[in-house]
Symmetry: C2
């Protein structure tokens, strides 16, 4: 089946309400060239507090934050307990200061390692009419 | 800086035009419970042909597929050569047959290992008005 290694490229250094500060490690900082020309970014991060056999062995959950008691597969919800603890959030880019980004809407706790940053492009990433089950319309956005 | 391990949960078994078949390994297949209630999914996969020191050491590229000769950081474009070779595509879910998904629009070659599948939710993932640089509007969608 195989496996791969991710090297963490930075860290979430601060969470203050809906604003978060991300520090990209100096080694990877040249990768930010031009990032300010985008209003939104896709942040992939590591659920480091779920990186253990128990959480990574989770395949079905009750998405109770959404007020439902129906068992769902982890590939049909955004549970942080899942085989690969990779989180995904689309954020608004508020500011760039050297190797530091300020973003709005990142759903990651302080200290979360960063896996990747990708520019958000409506052409490939925005599907406003996508269908979701009714339960997902309650509670937090993801 | 640290690192993490991803275990591949499946593979892209077939690409036929804009349709692709994904097989989730039996071990992880219970994670698909309820996935058919979504019209779109986020697929995270592994650029396995770029998983070497050269490609993973790439921090800046010329996005020539988009007809530009301006150097860009890998975090300001969707280059498959990047420190962590994780690909991200939003796809339309066409069908589910046991552990196999048929999807439309996956930008991955046959044999690509799967890292994660997340349901797409417009509430958190759709930003039709997001700003992008002019060059990204030419060429392929990502």
């Amino acid at each position: 089946m195989g496996s791969g290694e991710v090297r963490f490229i930075g860290v979430v250094t601060r969470v203050d309400g809906d604003l978060s500060t991300i520090r990209v490690y100096e080694e990877f900082c040249p990768g930010l060239l031009g990032v300010e020309s985008y209003s939104h970014l896709i942040i992939l991060y590591w659920f480091h507090e779920r990186d253990d056999a128990g959480h990574r062995g989770t395949l079905q959950v009750y998405p109770r934050r959404h007020g439902v008691n129906t068992l769902r597969g982890v590939y049909a919800c955004r549970s942080p307990s899942r085989p690969n603890p990779v989180g995904h959030t689309v954020v608004e880019l508020v500011g760039v200061d050297g190797c530091e980004l300020t973003v709005r809407g990142l759903d990651a706790i302080e200290g979360s390692p960063l896996v990747d940053i990708k520019p958000y492009s409506p052409r490939s990433d925005s599907f406003p009419e996508a269908r979701t089950p009714d339960w997902s319309k309650n509670g937090p956005p993801s």
